[in-house]
């Protein structure tokens, strides 16, 4: 039963008739424009569709049904109130190109979110246009390029990224027509300053940094890095992937960054939706204000109405990133969340996310797990390495991850960053209870015992899910991407 697709459930001629309007006349359209046969879509009843997709949903792990400590993804509770707010009819039924006069409620929300994000990042201006973190990165680096180009500084062709960076960083540099140049990360997780100094030069357009870094630690010499990069004529881009760790406690603008993106689906608790939508607003310092992507919301000087800024307001903008104005519904959720937190609540996010991570880290270390950076404070996440288990028992990080699924817990991020072998990147978030963290430690301790006693049990996990490990080699070699393949 469970393996059947929606197509398998259909019968010719069956349909969800309550959803289908009466046919309209197409007689005026030239025949050559019309489709011969209707598209081969499922032919099912409404109940069949509802039951099928309800049953599929039950096969997903989600924050709503369990602990989900996926490092670098900030899987925290997504408040239902924020969801409700974004679904209000006035917002849901608003056309993106509706006249400003009929949009003052929506525009006021966006303006307020822009102001809030300016304050929490310590920046001078915000555009909410980017639709995801990766698009925020793109916008950020494209602005850096627009800045250098506008100054006729065409020799700057390199973007520096730490070796531990998210893959999106070098991929973004390439999309912006830059070369990515890697610098090493030292033994304690900070950027290797000596190597950075060597990498900097007249060819440097900028540097992309995540802080706290992807190693789960704060970049301690950030002020020095900012000075060095600025001295070399480059700009600093802040990857907001880990902003949850320092929300309300420290700001990228104060650290010397020229541009930052925020992942609202992480830091501002909007739902991840099975892989999107997100939102990746960008905040910039004075130098990049003129290059902000469009559109964004302006408020009339008199303190009156709100309106969109467009091509006429910002001729030096890098331009549009989408057909309309980005993922508006996500922006509304983020504002609703920010309203409920307030300034004091934002500071608590950073504090309790860090508390939970450090607590979990010391408990796992005490239980005999090896930390990648034992001398350091955790940020909102930390790295455990299973290199010892891999060598001694033949148990890999992937094996432990799969066995955790049997214990009803989503696995942490595995094998990232690439420079730490056999690693878990663990991010509990501030919305989890102490009991949940303790239960995670218990599960890890039990898995360790299983690995010592019966390694096959762990190597062949999971045992309790709809499928066991899938043949990825076959998936890639035989490519069955549709029901007709």
């Amino acid at each position: 039963m469970s393996e059947r697709t929606i197509f398998d459930l259909g019968r010719p001629g069956r349909r969800a008739a309550a959803q289908h309007p009466a046919r309209g006349d197409l007689g005026d359209l030239p025949r050559g424009h019309l489709r011969g046969a209707p598209p081969a879509l499922p032919e099912v009843s409404e109940l069949q569709a509802v039951r099928h997709y309800t049953n599929l949903s039950a096969k997903n792990f989600a924050i709503d049904n369990r602990f989900y400590p996926l490092g670098s993804c900030t899987m925290k509770y997504n408040p239902r109130g924020a969801h409700r707010a974004a679904g209000l009819p006035g917002f849901l039924n608003r056309h993106p190109l509706a006249p400003d006069a009929l949009s003052q409620g929506f525009l006021s929300c966006l303006y307020e979110l822009q102001e809030t994000l300016k304050t929490v990042t310590g920046m001078a201006g915000v555009s909410l246009a980017p639709m995801a973190g990766a698009q925020g990165e793109f916008a950020g680096v494209a602005m850096i390029r627009a800045y250098h180009d506008a100054r006729g500084d065409a020799e700057r062709r390199e973007i520096i990224v730490p070796s531990a960076a998210h893959g999106t960083n070098p991929a973004t540099a390439t999309m912006c027509g830059y070369r990515a140049r890697e610098v090493a990360v030292g033994a304690e997780g900070d950027v290797d300053i000596a190597e950075l100094k060597q990498a900097l030069g007249p060819q440097t357009a900028g540097i992309m940094l995540t802080n706290p870094s992807t190693c789960g630690v704060f970049e301690r010499r950030i002020l020095e890095i900012a000075d060095r990069v600025h001295e070399a004529g480059g700009l600093l881009y802040y990857d907001g992937a880990n902003l949850n760790a320092i929300l309300g406690k420290a700001r990228p603008g104060d650290m010397g960054f020229d541009v930052a993106h925020l992942n609202l689906h992480k830091t501002f608790a909007t739902p991840h939706g099975g892989g999107g939508p997100g939102a990746g607003p960008v905040a910039v310092g004075e130098r990049l204000l003129a290059h902000l992507p469009m559109p964004f919301v302006l408020r009339d000087a008199a303190g009156g109405g709100y309106r969109w800024a467009d091509e006429r307001d910002c001729p030096a903008s890098i331009g549009r990133l989408s057909a309309f104005m980005g993922n508006a519904g996500i922006l509304l959720r983020a504002l609703a969340y920010a309203r409920m937190l307030g300034r004091e609540g934002m500071r608590r996010v950073g504090e309790y996310a860090t508390l939970n991570a450090n607590y979990l880290m010391v408990r796992l270390a005490a239980a005999g797990f090896e930390l990648a950076y034992p001398e350091r404070r955790a940020s909102h996440e930390f790295l455990v390495t299973f290199r010892g288990e891999a060598k001694a028992l033949g148990i890999t990080a992937m094996d432990v991850a799969k066995r955790l699924l049997d214990y009803g817990c989503h696995a942490p991020t595995t094998y990232f960053p690439l420079l730490v072998p056999e690693c878990f990147l663990i991010e509990p978030t501030e919305t989890e209870t102490k009991e949940e963290l303790d239960a995670f430690v218990d599960a890890m301790v039990r898995i360790k015992a299983e690995a010592e006693r019966d390694p096959k049990l762990v190597q062949s996990a999971p045992h309790t899910l709809p499928v066991t490990r899938l043949d990825e080699v076959r998936a890639a070699r035989e490519l069955k991407l549709t029901n007709r393949a």
């Binding site: 990825e472 080699v473 890639a476 070699r477």
Partner: protein
């Protein structure tokens, strides 16, 4: 321990090259490289008659966990590609120095093969990579 035939030349980027009696150079990837990649799922081959300089990206080999560029070990023109790899990429794992060859190049200067590594030198490089 990987197999490294002594009669071939090797690039630091893990391609092997063999100069045939007809003056044509056959290129593939080493046993060490196929083992590091794991199960090969796809090989993107160059277009016949395309010209490349030494060190230029010429093909891509892909496994589930990685995709690696293949660089032209010598300058020249592609005269043949191994079309069998399209349907059977696993041949690269099974027989890297035989049926798993990638393409053949007519070299501009066969002397460029001398710039490549010997089997011994290549083994030494792999050993240090393995430790890193």
């Amino acid at each position: 321990m990987s197999d490294t035939p002594a009669e071939l030349r090797y690039a630091a980027s893990h391609e092997w090259a063999q100069l045939g009696e007809d003056g044509i150079v056959t290129v593939g990837i080493s046993d060490f490289a196929q083992d590091a990649l794991g199960d090969v799922v796809y090989v993107e081959l160059p277009e016949p008659e395309a010209a490349f300089v030494a060190g230029e990206e010429i093909a891509v080999v892909e496994s589930v966990k990685a995709a690696s560029d293949i660089y032209a070990p010598v300058a020249g023109t592609v005269v043949a590609v191994n079309a069998d790899l399209e349907d059977a990429p696993e041949t690269v794992n099974a027989d890297p120095y035989g049926r798993g060859w990638f393409f053949k190049i007519e070299p501009l200067d066969p002397g460029q093969l001398d710039d490549l590594l010997s089997a011994e030198a290549y083994d030494a490089q792999c050993e240090s990579e393995g430790e890193a």
